[in-house]
């Protein structure tokens, strides 16, 4: 046997190529596509159904109370005979608004404050962090109760109350990451390359903490819905006439004990499925911004 014969072809031809990563690429793209599709459907439903629907989601039909899913009412009816599908879509609209607004505001503020504190360091950092400590020591629900009470209950106060209490933890996470990143040699390199603090924060530190911030943001969406329904549970959240998913789930509890599953299941799915879809997209995005995963997935 000669060693010149096989040459290039030996490797490429006769023996098969063995891969190292598992073959997750295809399932991954499927997952991303499904997530994207779900998010799209959600957005469309939320935007289009209410204006198009001829039905009144508040329309009470006592004769049709608690009907299981049927063609007339695909999701069944609630205990006042209202169509659950319609209410779920309306609820999703409200809840998603609360969740997204809260998540967005909280993440932006939290990331900005945390990154600024961590990047500046010294006195500025200490002051900012003590303010954060101070604010975060007021129990969330308490602050939520007051904020909601000060204004009329509605989407904005609820979202604000969630955002106002939740940017703090994002800020802490981001700052801690920044603190640890700050002493990395590549930051030294940037400093010596003439980068200002701001530049270092925006160009080197912020991208590194984005995965954490993104996770915080995604988690905030369902959490905000949670908060909203917790406030409703205490009688302080969204007014009960506004269908929100939290309200729906919350008022369906006794039906569940009484053996009716649909008033719980569908609103529950309406919370979970979009959340998972958003999480799926965010996960894909996180992989995209993680340089290693990115190249491994050949993005």
């Amino acid at each position: 046997m000669t060693c010149d014969a096989p040459a290039a072809e030996a490797g490429t031809g006769s023996t098969p190529w063995r891969s190292y990563g598992t073959k997750r690429r295809s399932t991954r793209t499927v997952r991303v596509r499904v997530s994207a599709a779900l998010v799209a459907v959600t957005v469309l439903a939320v935007l289009l159904v209410p204006p198009l629907a001829q039905l009144d989601q508040q329309a009470v039909d006592l004769a049709a109370e608690l009907q299981p899913p049927s063609w007339a009412h695909p999701f069944g009816t609630d205990d006042l005979g209202r169509d659950l599908l319609l209410r779920c879509v309306y609820g999703l609209r409200v809840s998603l608004l609360v969740g997204l607004v809260a998540a967005l505001v909280a993440t932006v503020i939290g990331t900005a404050v945390g990154a600024a504190a961590g990047a500046l360091g010294g006195w500025a950092d200490r002051c900012v962090m003590r303010v954060v400590d101070t604010l975060s020591s007021v129990p969330h629900l308490l602050l939520g109760i007051f904020i909601v009470a000060l204004f009329r209950p509605g989407v904005v106060p609820v979202a604000v109350s969630v955002a106002a209490t939740h940017w703090l933890s994002t800020a802490r996470i981001v700052r801690a990451e920044v603190l640890s990143l700050r002493s990395r040699p590549y930051i030294d390199a940037a400093v010596s390359g003439g980068a200002s603090r701001w530049r270092v924060a925006v160009r080197h530190l912020l991208p590194a903490v984005l995965p954490q911030a993104a996770l915080a943001a995604v988690l905030m969406v369902p959490h905000a819905m949670w908060h909203e329904s917790a406030l409703s549970f205490l009688g302080l959240g969204l007014p009960a006439h506004m269908a929100s998913l939290g309200n729906l789930v919350q008022s369906a509890r006794s039906s569940l004990l009484a053996g009716q599953w649909w008033p719980t299941l569908f609103p529950g799915l309406f919370i979970i499925v979009p959340t998972l879809a958003i999480a799926g997209l965010a996960g894909a995005w996180r992989e995209r911004i993680n340089p290693r995963r990115r190249s491994e997935l050949m993005l």
Binding site: R184, P185, Y186, D188, A189, A190, V191, S192, G193, G194, A195, S196, R197, R199, V200, R203, H204, P207, A208, I289, P291, R292, R294, S295
Partner: protein, 238 residues
């Protein structure tokens, strides 16, 4: 009057713990256009001294003069012009490269940071050629290239702002002979073109002798006092 030194370290003591400084009482000068080699055993504090010289590490005591002016502020607080006077190639390319940046961005980053965006395409192309990076490599991220390739990018980054003083902390430690020769040639070309000074830190006696106008040994720099608490490196076996 002799020419004013570009960089002068006077009795610098620096380290990470005030009780046991890594560098004790070190003095060193680099004149404009001069190439100084700094030799010393491993762990003696050379990199620390290099960080001090690059205004990245505040010394516990002693003075640092850049162009004859004493430096009082460090890191971010140092004026940008002062910071960018000195270009540094760090010892460990893996750690000193932001894993998120492509090599092009890595090289161009100082230009962008100092607001000279328009120079980016030309300068990057020019430097990439000088240090031997192909366009293919420029599009990759640090973990997708070999250590040597990354070090080339780091050299390009150090040169991109046309520093008047270049500090190379064991720049060629992990490079093969040909690449070493190529990079040294690149540095020398740059120096002849700009008249920049050089402080080359390393262990390789032969290399530094060949490369630099003057080599100093660590013991001379710290004038007899041992620079660190470290045991002296163990003499070679047998």
């Amino acid at each position: 009057m002799p020419e004013q030194p570009l960089l002068e370290l006077r009795a610098v003591t620096a380290g990470y713990d005030r009780r046991a400084p890594a560098v004790r009482n070190a003095s060193l000068t680099v004149a404009p256009g001069e190439a100084v080699g700094l030799l010393g055993p491993s762990g003696c504090g050379k990199s620390t001294l290099a960080r001090v010289a690059a205004l990245l590490h505040r010394p516990d005591s002693g003075t640092l003069l850049l162009d004859g002016a004493p430096v009082r502020r460090w890191r971010h607080r140092a004026p940008r012009a002062q910071r960018t006077t000195v270009g540094v190639v760090f010892q460990q390319p893996r750690l000193s490269a932001d894993p998120r940046l492509r090599l092009t961005d890595l090289i161009a980053e100082p230009l962008r940071a100092t607001g000279r965006r328009e120079d980016v395409p030309d300068r990057v192309a020019e430097l990439a050629a000088a240090v031997g990076l192909t366009p293919d490599l420029l599009g990759r991220r640090p973990h997708e290239v070999s250590d040597g390739q990354l070090q080339r990018a780091c050299l390009a980054r150090a040169l991109v702002l046309r520093p008047r003083l270049l500090i190379c902390d064991e720049m060629t430690a992990m490079l093969d002979a040909s690449t070493t020769a190529a990079l040294v040639a690149a540095v020398e070309d740059y120096r002849t073109a700009t008249g920049a000074g050089l402080l080359a830190v390393g262990h390789d006696h032969t290399l530094l002798k060949r490369w630099c106008d003057r080599t100093v040994h660590w013991d001379d720099v710290t004038s007899g006092t041992s620079g660190t608490s470290l045991e002296p490196s163990v003499p070679s076996a047998m």
